[in-house]
């Protein structure tokens, strides 16, 4: 089997890697190239301008605002989402009361809950954003109506219209729409942890919290780590773009006073509204660097002794 292993791998991977290089790597190189030009995106003509776009980034207030929001997302979103998902997954799989015939089980109705949690994944992010936009409507939206119904007539926030709240409104939607995926992912991971460990822990009298931190989390670490990287990338990229663009205030989204602008949205605005495609690619490069940094940090910090079972 070892003999000719590489030939086998190369043969298998040549076609996909070729396509990958053509449609992913090459556009990257192109984009970096365009970031040194003054291309408008509206005509085929452009010339080289050196580092002008990069020096412009340094004084661009809106860029730094969106940078700050993207960093907030990438730091907090994985933390909140994964913590919630781990908790839910643990409750669904091993957190239940002891019942007959099964020492280890989830809470009652866990099969049903799994479906409920996963449901948002079935909806496209655009639909989710639109639905929440209605919920956040300050006059007739579900949230303010609910507040009214419980007698809180004086508390009627503008939600997406309030610069202090708008970013967190978006944040909540992202958590809501992604947490289910991780619940299912972690459930799958937990299902592959051998039951004997839990039974041994139970016999030793460990409670739920100890079980979670001493057994579940260490054995699930690989999954958590990749989930962390994946969630961070969602937070930096497509998901945050869609939600902000669809839900928030302003001509192209971005919230009152740029309170929800994120980097991918800013790329979009510069390229497709302001006719400054070259500058947009420059912001894209900045986003790429940020993403790489994030993944590198996650991979390094997350390194642990690998447990095999």
């Amino acid at each position: 089997m070892q003999h000719g292993k590489y030939r086998f791998i190369v043969g298998f991977l040549a076609a996909p890697l070729g396509i990958y290089a053509l449609f992913v790597i090459w556009p990257f190189i192109q984009s970096i190239y365009y970031s040194f030009t003054d291309w408008s995106g509206l005509s085929p003509e452009f010339k080289m301008v050196g580092f002008k776009n990069y020096s412009r980034i340094l004084d661009d207030e809106v860029f730094w605002k969106s940078f700050q929001h993207s960093v907030t997302f990438v730091l907090l979103l994985p933390l909140v989402t994964l913590t919630l998902a781990l908790f839910f997954a643990f409750m669904l799989n091993v957190g239940g009361r002891r019942r007959k015939n099964a020492a280890i089980a989830g809470v009652r109705g866990s099969a049903f809950y799994k479906v409920v949690y996963f449901f948002p994944q079935v909806l496209s992010i655009a639909i989710v954003a639109l639905l929440f936009q209605f919920a956040y409507n300050p006059n007739s939206g579900a949230l303010n109506s609910a507040l009214k119904a419980v007698g809180l007539d004086s508390v009627q926030p503008d939600w997406l219209g309030d610069p202090d709240l708008a970013l967190w409104c978006v944040f909540a939607v992202l958590v809501w729409s992604t947490v289910g995926f991780f619940v299912v992912l972690f459930s799958a991971g937990m299902a592959s942890i051998p039951r004997d460990y839990y039974e041994a822990a139970l016999l030793d009298g460990a409670n739920r919290i100890t079980t979670f931190f001493k057994i579940t989390l260490p054995l699930l670490w690989d999954t958590v780590q990749s989930g962390w990287a994946y969630m961070g990338i969602l937070a930096l990229g497509a998901e945050s773009f869609a939600v902000v663009q669809i839900m928030t205030v302003g001509p192209n989204g971005g919230g009152p006073d740029y309170s929800t602008t994120v980097l991918p949205l800013y790329v979009y605005q510069k390229a497709f509204r302001d006719g400054q495609a070259a500058y947009a690619t420059t912001i894209g490069v900045a986003l790429l660097v940020l993403t790489l940094l994030f993944v590198a940090v996650v991979m390094r910090l997350g390194r642990r002794e690998r447990l095999e079972y």
């Binding site: 556009p27 005509s43 503008d158 610069p163 990749s226 990287a229 302001d274 495609a277």
Partner: protein
């Protein structure tokens, strides 16, 4: 229990392989894939069709057999008016194949085609995804429409098209110097829109001074109706009544200075007075609750439901809000209320200007055909058809005789008559789109009207934005001639 362990001896284990390729794939997903989709290529688009024979019926010398492609923005006005005009072209040139399409996403559809150098022959560059005109002009992507303006008009061959248009239309299509890049087809009246019925029910007439305005709002408030609402998510609707008010109070030169991005243009006392007047609406609670979180449709709906009395808007609102507007709403528009009799310009000063910008790309194959189509649209018959079907005026001066004007349209025509020469046309809206909509609109006015900035703070912030735009050499700058 080892089921997924790596092969420890040497080389790449299954896990590592998957992991590495996944990492590689993941980092590439979010960043730039969507930009590369529009990477430019340089196929030339200069193969123009030959000129046709110039005749009395064909003053632009259109090639009778050349195909024509039209792309129309499918917005508040729909597309029927353009299809009707297309049918006329097909009748005049039966051998020409006319391709007609409409979209709400002008930029997504057309940007790649500009990049390839193969744009269509006529475009209605409108809507939320409008392509930046300044960039298009600056990059020489548009054809000069002067031949069209100098061609004979359809209705009267002794007149040039230029002479049949409403005042200001030709100038609006110019940027710097003589060439005319844009033909604005619709003629929009901006101002304060209201239901005459609602106003009558308050026993009030439209207020001409700000004290009267506050009094009317107070009356409305007693009847549990807000004085004002506006498109809170798109606060750049506020200028529709605010800018002409500034002109009324301080004279048109204040607006010109703002358009020219002159230093301290926003610090003019007239600007401050008007900002404070609007801020008072907020402070006295005359703005419909929750307005900052509403978009244009939601605010219009609240207004047609009678929750608010006034809304700053443009004449498209009659068509756009038709679905929710009660039959007896009796829509009316008025020039903005001023401060008092010491204002520089009389009551009636209004903002009216071209809408629906039509462009003929410089690299289009059949530029003559594109202009000919515009010539047809600027005939009295087509103009009437437009006014009748979408309740809005066109650039063609006249064409309203013998049509049953709807209440809003009638009131718009009356407002224009009353204004006479006192029609202002702030250009900041089409010259500096990002500055006007996002910075001044959302960042400044929206924040002020939501009560999060005082007028003084708003002015300071907006002046900062304007100074930034004046310094920014990545945007084209223009000046009033």
């Amino acid at each position: 229990m080892g089921s997924t362990s790596a092969n420890n001896r040497e080389g790449i284990g299954r896990r590592d392989l998957i992991k590495r390729s996944a990492a590689l794939g993941l980092i590439s997903v979010p960043t730039m894939s969507f930009l590369s989709a529009c990477a430019s290529s340089d196929s030339g688009g200069d193969e123009k069709v030959d000129k046709g024979k110039k005749t009395k019926e064909n003053p632009l010398a259109v090639n009778e057999t050349a195909p024509l492609e039209i792309v129309i923005f499918d917005g508040g006005f729909g597309t029927k008016y353009a299809e009707d005009a297309k049918a006329v072209y097909e009748k005049n040139f039966p051998k020409a194949k006319v391709k007609f399409s409409s979209t709400q996403k002008i930029q997504s559809v057309l940007q790649p085609r500009f990049n390839q150098g193969t744009p269509p022959d006529l475009i209605d560059n409108s809507g939320a995804e409008q392509m930046d005109m300044g960039v298009l002009v600056g990059k020489k992507q548009l054809a000069d429409l002067t031949p069209l303006l100098d061609a004979a008009s359809v209705d009267d061959p002794s007149k040039k098209v230029r002479d049949t248009l409403r005042p200001g239309i030709v100038e609006m299509g110019q940027f710097d110097g003589d060439p005319v890049w844009i033909m604005y087809y619709a003629y929009t009246v901006y101002g304060v829109w209201y239901s005459q019925k609602a106003l009558d029910s308050l026993d009030a007439t439209y207020p001409e001074t700000w004290d009267e305005m506050l009094a009317v709002c107070e009356k409305a408030k007693k009847k549990d109706m807000a004085g004002w609402t506006y498109a809170g998510k798109h606060p750049y609707y506020l200028p529709f009544s605010l800018y002409p008010m500034i002109a009324k109070v301080g004279g048109t030169e204040v607006l010109d200075a703002i358009d020219n991005l002159e230093p301290n243009a926003w610090k003019h006392p007239a600007v401050k007075t008007c900002f404070e007047a609007y801020y008072e609406l907020y402070k006295k609670g005359y703005i419909l609750k929750g307005t900052p979180g509403l978009d244009h449709i939601q605010s219009q709906t609240a207004w047609t439901e009678g929750k608010a009395l006034f809304i700053p808007n443009g004449s498209w609102v009659e068509n756009e809000a038709a679905k929710t507007m009660p039959k007896d709403f009796n829509l009316a528009v008025s020039a903005p209320t001023g401060i008092d009799s010491s204002d520089k310009m009389p009551f009636g000063t209004i903002w009216a200007s071209g809408g629906e910008p039509f462009i003929v790309p410089a690299k289009a194959k059949n530029t003559d055909g594109g202009m000919e189509q515009l010539r047809i649209m600027l005939s009295e018959a087509s103009s009437k058809n437009f006014t009748e079907s979408v309740k809005s005026l066109t650039a063609f001066n006249g064409g309203t005789d013998g049509i049953d004007l709807t209440p809003g349209l009638k009131s718009g025509v009356a407002a224009l008559e009353k204004a006479g020469d006192n029609v202002v046309n702030p250009r900041i809206q089409d010259w500096y789109v990002a500055l006007q909509k996002e910075k001044i609109g959302v960042g400044g006015l929206g924040e002020m009207m939501a009560g999060r900035l005082t007028p003084a703070e708003a002015i300071k912030k907006i002046q900062g934005y304007a100074d930034e735009a004046a310094k920014d050499d990545s945007i084209q700058h223009y000046k009033h001639q």
